[in-house]
């Protein structure tokens, strides 16, 4: 029977108190919100904690605040709340689509936006039963020294699994981090590191408090799109996801565009080459095809999921193209059975 190991559980009512606990507890302390990632990971002994600090008792962290300009989404707003939020659906429909694609309704009722952004990275050699991991020897993401995806590699190749992150990165979201000694606001993109183990650019005691969506990324200024490949119509993590946000000039050419891939690197992967290629161009079929090829080149899907890397590579191209086409108002070009739009 999978069971949680012993730990201290704290449920502060105020943010300052949570920050103080984290500052005082040292390396063994962890934050939990919905618990849909942390609890199963602790049960499977992927993650360990001496103290777990729940953020769910802190009302200010759950608020969705729409002043008409920047949209502020509290980190402990549930994924269901974000997807159903009038402001998100009206102003950032591509984000609603990305969030709706996460797992299943029960998980979205429990899981939070902040939790999804901090989701542990995943790997076929890591997300396994403990006896199996022990039988082959633990990989470097755990107690071992080797990355089983690429045994000669000095780094871990576990991949980012969040669906909200690529979309929010594309939309240019920022996040508010707060610790006992102060707070800072950074672009979400900079929250992530290209490392399967140490994948967040965040001090351990910093709490992800809110996501800030710029007014310029709202639908009246920006065309956003999100495509996710998964086997089933629910539950599954992305095999590949592609998020695009495009700003067009008066003549219909791309003024600026962000294309961000999920599940193909240890962090949400911006395809800068494609963005540069498209700047100033019309987003027609030819441009889309060229950019999608660049996406495929940028992504290096490793043998770290159930699926063959070559197929995933091809899917990067197809899904990046679909996201770009949709942003340009074209037919997406693929017809997978499940698309959350």
């Amino acid at each position: 029977m999978l069971r949680l190991p012993p730990f201290d559980f704290r449920a502060p009512r105020r943010l300052a108190e949570a920050a103080a606990i984290l500052a005082g507890e040292g390396d063994g302390a962890r934050v939990v919100a919905g618990g849909t990632d942390l609890w199963p990971n602790m049960k499977r002994r992927h993650q360990h904690a001496t103290t777990v600090v729940s953020l769910m008792g802190i009302p200010e962290l759950a608020a969705v605040d729409d002043g008409g300009g920047e949209l502020r989404l509290g980190a402990t707003a549930t994924l269901a709340q974000v997807a159903a939020s009038d402001a998100v659906r009206r102003r950032y429909p591509a984000l609603a689509c990305a969030v709706r694609s996460i797992s299943s309704p029960p998980l979205r009722n429990m899981g939070t936006l902040g939790g999804n952004l901090c989701l542990d990275t995943r790997c076929t050699y890591y997300n396994q039963t403990e006896p199996w991991r022990r039988a082959i020897d633990f990989c470097m993401k755990e107690a071992g020294t080797v990355c089983w995806v690429a045994p000669s590699s000095p780094r871990c190749w576990a991949h980012a699994a969040s669906d909200a992150a690529p979309m929010l990165c594309a939309l240019g979201a920022r996040v508010l981090l707060r610790a006992h000694d102060g707070e800072r606001v950074v672009p979400l993109e900079e929250l992530y590191r290209d490392d399967g183990i140490d994948y967040l650019n965040k001090r351990r005691e910093e709490i992800l408090c809110a996501v800030l969506l710029p007014a310029e990324a709202a639908v009246e200024h920006c065309a956003g799109s999100f495509w996710k490949l998964r086997r089933r119509g629910a539950i599954d993590f992305a095999v590949v996801s592609a998020a695009a946000a495009a700003w067009f000039d008066a003549g219909g050419a791309v003024e600026r565009l962000r294309l961000v891939l999920g599940a193909v690197a240890s962090r949400p992967l911006r395809v800068v080459a494609a963005e540069e290629l498209l700047a100033g161009r019309r987003l027609d079929e030819e441009a889309v095809a060229e950019a999608a090829r660049l996406a495929r080149k940028a992504a290096t899907p490793m043998d770290n999921t159930d699926f063959q890397a070559q197929w995933r590579g091809l899917m990067v191209e197809r899904y990046a193209a679909a996201a770009l086409r949709q942003a340009a108002g074209l037919e997406p070009g693929i017809r997978p059975p499940h698309h959350p739009l």
Partner: protein, 788 residues
């Protein structure tokens, strides 16, 4: 007139209890002083077990006992052989059954090594984590073909090889038929079936009452009576000292009739040994390792046809993965061997299989029980032959059906129930016609598919047929009692795992006795209530237990009529049973209720006359000579996205013939549930073992069950060809939905991709399960090959 209930789509009467949490499941059983059990299981697929160090675990607080093979003393044993090999000439069968706790050797990952008994499951698990099993890993036997290679490591050291069984069955002269053939198509087929993944995992609670000298066991088994009988024998108790209760069970599908599981042998012994009740509830990871599965078969098969596509003969050689032990005998591969013949005339057949021991979880029947494997081979061979001859898939099937006048149809083989493989009845062409009509075959081929192709959409259609041997013996029994309250009690020995027995058996009895369904109370799965019978498996509950209920109800009806005719002074022919009373037909006011009759049949004064029995009760048994053969046709339309190779099922049609239908609503549920499992098998579910014999996807995050969004609405149609083998004319329906989905999926996907101008004209799908990733590999190989 009494309202007819038999054959009506009555809603399931057990559902309100199930839906409101009032049904008893094994894990609901809480007993004073109850202890909890956790298992230490092998993390290696194959290894030498040198010893178990449990000193630290034994010293932990709350731990009552740690049991290893050594601690079992003379109780340590291998489980019984559930089904001995059938009487087939020249058969080779090596019996190696699972042991309670591993000793000397571990043979699959998840095999139990030690059991910890503690005051709570948490304490037991904590202690289990401190037990050290000293195992020297051995090279595992994983691959089916390599298992039989000379020099391969051996799962069982005392056997000369990993051969578990070798069986050949044949009829006619295949070699001669082949010489006459216009075409011979032969391929290698791989069919892999997976885990049943029932909603409820296994669980056992055992209590020994030392004062009453009674053992009570709550078990998620499909076969409470054989479990009781076996436990009594193993523990040296009288059968009457053991009561096994299989309460509501969250899905069986076959693995819950594997017996005896090691845990099933251990828990009752522990309860007696410790003098306290014990509980073990399997967790989901354990279910993947320790509950039996179905898995792979590799067939090298060929089909010989004449110029018109008529079957001259089939030759098949296949390997079957038994897993580490073979307690269920040869049921699964024999089912494959026999069911391959399908609804077709096959004058010459030569089939030979080798069952192979591997260092993997035990293989026993899971819904379909090997039938899928055989049906896949035959249906694909027919598709290949049709293509070579330029025939339509519908036409080649039609030309080969056994005609309705050719029943009973003798196949000349031995079936899993040891009797000759004989189809009792069947009428296949009307089902095909109906399925083709419902799916709109011609319209699809002539209009929809070409139109979709013009729009850049790749749609495909498929149709397959199958038969399902159902309702095998030996027998089941039932007791029907009219209570003095007027309610009717029906008791039978089979257990229930969601089949709707509480409704369908009540319908059978209510029809005979003219009572309202709400007045019929059905009890199943409790040996304290009824202790003769076998269990719920092989699509036999409705056929065998249903007919036993019918016979018992008919006997009670006779008693009612006899007594009532005396009391009402009317001849039995003039009486009718309706609305819970007996009336003289056409004489208003001349009625006596069944409750009053029951009281008069068990008087407090006077005598029960010689030759009669007290009460309105009868116990009757029904044992069919052999199984009734159900059949059906499935058809499907899919859309394949050539860019991603994702597949969407647009339509799914099932036309089914299971003889007389007791309750169309329950039948529909059985079929749709089976189709969902068939779709899982075809495109989502696969148990992935690595080279070390480790199961790589032992969780629902990675073992992909189809969800509500992946299973389309299923349209059903019916043909009714009653079975002559039982009075109700019933055939089983439990496995029908799950059997032919694999070959249907393959045919429809091929149809979508071939002829689409994608360079995939040579695409052949010879394996199940598929995935978009695997379809990519298959299509990519063709595109690469086409270029060279």
């Amino acid at each position: 007139m009494a309202r007819r209930v038999f054959g009506e789509p009555v809603r399931r009467r057990e559902d309100p209890r199930l839906l409101t949490g009032r049904a008893l499941f094994v894990d609901d059983v809480e007993l004073p002083g109850m202890l909890h059990v956790a298992f230490v299981r092998s993390s290696f697929a194959h290894g030498r077990l040198n010893g178990v160090d449990a000193a630290a675990a034994r010293a932990r607080p709350g731990v009552v006992a740690v049991i290893t093979a050594e601690d079992l003393g003379s109780y340590w044993q291998a489980g019984p052989l559930l089904v001995p090999p059938p009487p087939i000439e020249g058969i080779v069968f090596h019996q190696r059954t699972q042991v309670i706790l591993a000793r000397d050797k571990v043979r699959h990952a998840g095999e139990p090594i030690a059991a910890v008994v503690a005051e709570s499951r948490y304490l037991a698990e904590d202690a289990a984590a401190e037990i050290y099993a000293d195992v020297d890993p051995l090279e595992p036997v994983v691959d089916l073909e390599r298992a039989l290679a000379p020099g391969a490591p051996r799962v069982h050291d005392d056997l000369g090889s990993n051969l578990a069984a070798h069986v050949r069955q044949s009829k006619g002269d295949y070699a001669a038929a082949r010489r006459r053939a216009r075409r011979v198509v032969g391929r290698r087929f791989t069919y892999d079936h997976g885990a049943a993944a029932a909603m409820e995992n296994r669980g056992i609670v055992a209590r020994w009452d030392g004062r009453e000298e009674q053992l009570t066991v709550w078990d998620t088994t499909q076969a409470p009576i054989p479990i009781r009988n076996g436990l009594a024998r193993m523990l040296g108790l009288a059968e009457s000292q053991v009561r096994v209760i299989a309460p509501f069970i969250g899905g069986g599908f076959g693995p819950k009739i594997m017996m005896f599981y090691p845990e099933e042998m251990l828990l009752p012994w522990l309860a007696r040994h410790l003098g306290r009740p014990v509980k073990w509830i399997e967790d989901r990871a354990e279910n993947f390792f320790a509950t039996s599965q179905e898995r792979s078969q590799i067939h090298d098969a060929e089909l010989a046809v004449d110029g018109e596509g008529r079957i001259l003969g089939v030759r098949d050689r296949f390997l079957h993965d038994s897993g580490a032990y073979d307690p269920y005998g040869l049921t699964v591969p024999i089912n494959s061997q026999c069911t391959l013949l399908g609804p077709y005339r096959v004058p010459n057949y030569d089939s030979e299989f080798k069952a192979v021991f591997t260092n993997k979880t035990i293989v026993t029947p899971y819904r379909g029980a090997g039938r899928q494997h055989g049906v896949f081979v035959m249906e694909r061979l027919l598709d290949l032959a049709a293509r070579e001859l330029g025939l339509d898939p519908v036409e080649i099937r039609r030309r080969n059906y056994i005609p309705p006048e050719d029943f009973p149809h003798h196949h000349g083989l031995i079936y899993q129930d040891f009797s000759e493989l004989v189809y009792d009845s069947g009428n296949y062409e009307p089902a095909l016609d109906q399925a083709v009509e419902m799916i709109g075959w011609r319209r699809f081929k002539e209009e929809e598919q070409p139109r979709a192709r013009r729009d850049g959409r790749q749609l495909g259609i498929g149709v397959v047929s199958y038969v399902e041997g159902t309702g095998i013996g030996p027998y089941e029994g039932a007791r029907v009692t009219v209570e003095t309250s007027g309610t009717v009690s029906v008791t039978t020995g089979v257990g229930t795992q969601g089949q709707g027995h509480f409704t369908s058996f009540a319908q059978v009895v209510a029809e005979q006795l003219g009572v309202d369904l709400d007045r019929v109370r059905v009890v199943t799965g409790d040996t304290g209530e009824f202790h003769w019978g076998t269990g719920t498996f092989a699509s036999r509950g409705a056929v065998v237990a249903g007919n036993a209920c019918h016979a018992a109800a008919a006997a009670v009806r006779d008693k009612i009529l006899k007594l009532a005719s005396e009391l009402l002074e009317a001849s039995a022919e003039d009486l009718e049973l309706a609305e819970g009373e007996v009336r003289v037909r056409g004489v208003p006011g001349s009625a006596i209720t069944l409750g009053e009759l029951a009281a008069k049949a068990n008087p407090l004064r006077g005598a029960v006359r010689p030759g009669t029995e007290p009460g309105l009760e009868a116990t009757t048994y029904f044992g069919p000579a052999r199984g009734a053969t159900a059949s059906g046709v499935h058809a499907m339309i899919v859309e394949v996205d050539p860019e991603t190779l994702m597949v969407k099922i647009l339509r799914y049609v099932v036309v089914h013939d299971c003889g007389t239908v007791i309750n169309p609503l329950i039948l529909e549920g059985q079929i749709v549930g089976g189709v969902a499992q068939g779709i899982g098998n075809a495109f989502y579910e696969q148990l992935v073992y690595d080279g070390e014999g480790q199961l790589l996807n032992a969780s629902f995050m990675d073992y992909l069950l189809p969800t509500a969004s992946d299973v389309p609405p299923v349209e059903t149609g019916h043909v009714v060809t009653p079975s002559p083998l039982n009075p109700l004319g019933i055939k089983g329906a439990g496995e029908a939905g799950a059997i032919p989905t694999g070959p249907l999926f393959a045919q429809a996907v091929e149809d979508a991709l071939r002829g689409a101008g994608l360079g995939l004209e040579q695409l052949e799908i010879l394996e199940i399960p598929l995935s978009p990733n695997r379809l990519f590999e298959l299509t990519e190989a063709l595109r690469q090959g086409g270029g060279s």
